[in-house]
Symmetry: C3
Subunit: 273 residues, 3 copies
């Protein structure tokens, strides 16, 4: 069933407006092309407001936010809301600095966000107003494991309900909830954490999935998570002696490029709680 | 004959000043190194004016333009004109927003541009003052095909004459004209559109070709287009099962790195009208 | 002995704050992950000051400096000094423009820099107040060769003493000195110069080595240089027909990912003078 979601991306070629960090932006663009979408980047306030209008949805990533790009995020977000475009927020490093935490919280308050996707530490920061984020990676103490799964599922459902957004927490086990049900996803490999920006890439791709599947946004979000994780598994199986994280990055994007409905339906590893 | 142009790049190692977008900038730098040039990026107004003076030419790409970098484009452009350096304009997304269209038009008016290189929608926007650009990719309705080729050749010749610049339109069929003659180029593969920034990469490389071939700018422009397209063909022939757009990107840059006079002369597929 | 240094990086997973250029930033992040560190990028003045406090060290690279990011460099630098974090300066293009030279000189004056790493032309610019830097690559006339080695070693020792920083000059022969002794390193390959940003990557990795080896900063600096050069040798041995600089870039990062104590101890090629 999730396989239909990527099929819809390839059919619809959704144009995604990204206001994202300059660290991983090239990979975000190539992942969007790989999954069947089309990327455009614009962060100047004036340009962002106009560009978002020709797109189908907006991906806001605060990874290298600054005083120049923050107004662009709000301007584009408000325009996207007026146009009923889906908006995804990737609160990179929320909890690691006041500027990041405050900007993410303010974006949540002033915009209707369709999805918030982050690691557990970032999402906890948004839920509780403060966090223990260590840099841009999740704090080990926060990790979702089989032992902490029940309480994590309860947390994500609760936060999704309260925030009126779909919440996607990615890590060793991924959780996606709209407040009613929760997808518990076990695709992916831990080595993906050794590549910069797999989270950013997922956020870009997820926005394309949301645009192309307007009637089933929860499934689209889960499908994007499964696609990324499964691509990580397929890519790993192609690794050879001497290969490392740079080749792994390329092979993951390649695997998304080659992902089809059947592969995704067969490889998606999830349960719904 | 076009092969001499890349040979001259390798001999002269032209230093290219790039004011370009942060999405594809790393690939632009690596392509410039691959073809034998040397890249430098500087977009701060003060820095750009000075850096352009130590370079041989200037590549202006408006892909992620903003209020801070636009003054840098004009400052560097004026300095480059004073020094008689070739300037290339890549009007990424012209037609997609007022800021992009207006900036590109103003750059055309205030600077002597040696080459303007874009997709057909972007170039039509500059020629007619408005366009139907969909994001950063060409509109299908605008595409240059065998059926529309005659009128497209007439259009590009006319616009080149009127703008006093060499015009390079890239797509399924590429057109390069100085207003008198038009190179019609049939190198490349459609899968190149699934990689972000092949156009930006070409613009960077083309600027190096212009610097290294001052007496034959039209041939240099056409040679750069053929080099990129032929690299796309060679790279595709090296693709293996499971490879996708990320590996394709790497192999294209690799193919440029290995391109020599003989390969280019043999593989360049063009006619002059 | 140098092998212990990378082992310490893998054990300590140092968090590195990078204020770096947007050309090579993605590779810097992936190299930091490859060697066992963890990268975070923040250049907004307010954000940079706070982010640096949660990190173990700071990497300042002036490759695409501008009026917005320069204050972030000073703010983060002062905070890092207060916290006794190691700071590395990579003066990209010092000598090529006044803004670059002046900013690098001012950073040297106002901050306690643990290491300054650059090519010979950039370092000469900082030592003598002016230089002959051609773009971002070293001037051939400046090159450290077997013939000029004695005077180069004397120069780097003298400048290290005078600046109270470890000086690392990278090129065909690499020199690392704290003013007392000088590591003369002969790892690496000339083809690394055909990849954009191997210097930037080394600076990022070196900062991780400095954080993880607080009691042996000179050895850590030399170990990072040997790691990069040796990775360049290993990566080259894996190159196949048709491969070029893009694949070489990936393989170098891969080789760092796979580098361990034994490989580094066996492959490091240096003498201490």
């Amino acid at each position: 069933m999730l396989g239909t979601c990527i099929e819809n991306v390839r059919k619809n070629v959704p144009l995604v407006h990204n206001i994202t960090n300059y660290v991983t932006v090239n990979d975000v663009a190539n992942v969007l092309l790989a999954c069947g979408g089309s990327p455009i980047m614009a962060d100047d306030e004036e340009d962002a407001r106009e560009i978002t209008a020709i797109c189908g949805g907006l991906n806001i990533n605060i990874g290298t936010l600054n005083q120049r790009t923050i107004p662009g995020m709000f301007a584009a977000g408000k325009r996207a809301n007026e146009l009923k475009h889906p908006i995804l927020l990737d609160p990179v490093g929320a909890g690691a600095s006041s500027l990041r935490t405050d900007t993410a919280v303010k974006l949540m308050k002033e915009l209707d966000l369709t999805v918030i996707r982050g690691n557990i530490s970032e999402i906890k920061t948004l839920a509780f107003g403060s966090g223990t984020t260590q840099g841009v990676d999740a704090d080990v103490a926060d990790a979702v494991t089989e032992e902490t799964l029940d309480s994590a599922v309860a947390f994500v459902k609760n936060f999704a309900k309260r925030s009126a957004s779909i919440i996607a927490i990615t890590g060793a086990i991924d959780l996606v909830s709209d407040g009613e049900v929760c997808y518990v996803i076990r695709n992916g490999r831990s080595e993906m954490g050794k590549i910069t920006g797999t989270g950013c890439q997922l956020s870009g791709m997820m926005t394309a999935f949301l645009i192309a599947n307007p009637e089933q946004k929860l499934e689209a979000t889960a499908a994007a998570v499964c696609t990324m994780g499964l691509a990580g598994e397929i890519a790993w199986s192609r690794m050879q002696d001497g290969d490392g994280n740079s080749t792994y990055r390329n092979r993951i994007i390649d695997a998304i490029y080659n992902m089809d409905k059947e592969t995704l339906d067969k490889g998606a590893n999830y349960e719904v709680r």
